[in-house]
């Protein structure tokens, strides 16, 4: 056991160690979430001319400089939620160096602030049985790279047991990676809560890396605007999912393999992938969800050449949601109109919100309870 004298001596370690952390003195507190749910953001930049707060789903707001060169702004009260944000310092988006909570992204890593809310919010941690998140690594023959996918198994999942579970394949958006649905979307927390409340059936959720042509994720315009690259991105992702990941999942986990026990859903680019893959492979997927779909194009007949009212006999759910402030709302409405014209039944959802994770967490919490009923 340690004595007081012993501990005092070991402070030499801490003093030396502190010198390693260049940000230690003097500390800036940011973000500061006040009891009334206003949030103060602070950033030290003594020589910057302009510092803006860029917050997910909100217009940028100017921050004010004090005499010490610390810029700050207080916003809100904000609805309880998780918000991505960055500081735009003389035109450059930066994460908050005072905040370890990150919103990972391949093109625009941001910081994230949690404005806590009541335990009834689907993404709040509760004292309920918790599932497990597994990260798998493999070399894709289809894509030709080393990649990963994440698998959520529900509380009580027993790899040596007799129970088999249905599976939701849950896809991220453009510029996200395979971590997004857990690190940002808190899909594992949402599922834990829904299952504990008896609102969702226990299920396995697979969260792949959603690119068939990873080079499409680029800061420079040309690859993004290359039609062949975009087509390869969707087609090779589909092939990697259908011929590599799904077989691996079905070998590794105790899951049901009937089409009525297999769902696919995603956000933005992942919504387009879910529709493109799912509606063209109804022999594999009976449940399809598209959240704030983007990148689907508008030539729906070319994208879904075989889709017509016969699909209604196979589709257990086709769920299409979009925020009313989303710049993609019109595309989503056009697609739903086309489905209606083709006689394809679907659930149409429009809710307040823009192209943000605040919308997508809620969509997962609405969509998952409908599955596998």
């Amino acid at each position: 056991m340690m004595t007081g004298r012993h501990l005092v001596r070991s402070l030499t370690f801490l003093l030396a160690a502190e010198a390693l952390w260049p940000q230690a003195p003097p500390p800036v507190v940011s973000p500061e979430v006040h009891p009334d749910r206003r949030v103060t953001f602070r950033f030290r930049a003594p020589n910057a001319k302009e510092v803006l707060l860029a917050r997910e789903g909100a217009p940028r707001v100017a921050m004010q400089r004090d005499e010490q060169g610390i810029w700050s702004v207080t916003v809100g009260p904000l609805e309880p939620d998780l918000y991505g944000y960055s500081f735009v310092v003389d035109g450059v988006g930066l994460v908050d160096p005072s905040n370890p909570l990150m919103k990972p992204n391949l093109l625009n890593t941001q910081s994230m602030v949690h404005v806590p809310g009541p335990p009834s919010l689907p993404w709040e941690l509760n004292d309920v049985p918790r599932g497990t998140v597994h990260r798998h690594f493999y070399r894709s023959q289809v894509v030709g790279d080393d990649r990963d996918y994440y698998v959520y198994t529900p509380p009580g999942y027993d790899p040596a047991g007799k129970v088999r579970y249905p599976v939701l394949y849950l896809l991220h958006g453009y510029s996200d990676d395979a971590r997004a649905w857990t690190e940002v979307g808190r899909a594992h927390v949402i599922l834990d809560n829904l299952i504990a409340q008896g609102k969702a059936r226990p299920m396995v959720v697979v969260m792949p890396l959603g690119y068939g042509a990873p080079e499409i994720v680029s800061r420079s315009g040309p690859p993004l605007r290359n039609p062949e690259l975009r087509k390869r991105n969707y087609d090779r992702f589909r092939d990697a999912l259908l011929t590599e990941m799904i077989p691996q999942v079905e070998r590794t986990y105790r899951v049901l393999t009937d089409r009525t026990a297999r769902a696919i859903a995603g956000l933005s680019m992942g919504g387009a992938e879910s529709l493109y893959i799912g509606l063209n492979a109804l022999e594999r997927f009976a449940w399809i969800g598209a959240f704030s779909t983007g990148g689907l194009g508008e030539d729906f007949a070319a994208t879904f050449p075989n889709l017509d009212a016969k699909a209604n006999a196979q589709l257990r759910l086709l769920w299409i949601g979009c925020g009313t402030e989303d710049f993609l709302l019109e595309l989503n409405r056009k697609f739903r109109q086309w489905l209606t014209a083709k006689g394809v039944k679907h659930t149409a959802v429009e809710t307040p919100g823009a192209h943000t994770w605040m919308v997508w967490r809620r969509y997962l919490a609405e969509f998952a309870p409908l599955l596998f009923r």
Copy 2:
């Protein structure tokens, strides 16, 4: 299938979406790893007065500003490795906004650059069978918080099979979290490689969150200098490990539960924890590793009141390594001298290097092959 016309139309989505990413135009390329292993770092800060590159294990170097306000510096050639770095902009440490690869840390998140090397380096990805990394969540009764731990299972691990594996408990350092050994240390890649080469026995590796008093991780000095808090941090972590995590692991995984199949090792604060917990519980651990130990204090007799030469009959390995440029080298030498005076056998390792992950990846690659023989 998509047609050209269809894809051209869907570009409206991409053009709109690009507007969401404030860093898109004009892109700065950073870091740029040249074929000769020199690395150029770039950062746009038109109004900054001073921008330094802070690279793991190296003195800070000044970056130079060009007419566009882009600061840059080229260093190296660097030895193939992964290096944490940040830009110190007028005194504030910032991650590189052009680089999605992060070095997560609770006090000082940095960016990370990979200087690729030959496949023989233990942390390089090779086309070998890959293990899986599992993330578990639980509410700790000992600590009173919700926390996580990561578990690596080796290639071929079968949860319904007959084989049982030995377990290494692998601890991070002060200001890291439970992700550190995989995200920064690439422990899963190192184990995959060592196992594929027949150099290490297939084993399970458990990587817990290493705090018994998480409030010790604070930018402000006082909590860090509070002796009671530091003692609670070690003691409660020990209790959470011994009474919560180890039982959970042994219920969940096909692992051996004999002391000769259980190892504990860690870096810096995790080295101190491995020694404090392991050497005071030889009935549970036969293999102990301490990498660049810090925070152990110097009153060894008070910390290890029952340790003497009788331990040699129980210890299969006590491995103590430290870099010759580490500011903790003297502490490590003193501890080894004390062990020698007590007649406790140990393996002493000193290698070039400072208090860095470049040292710790190599130590894991040296230490793991010695285990469970």
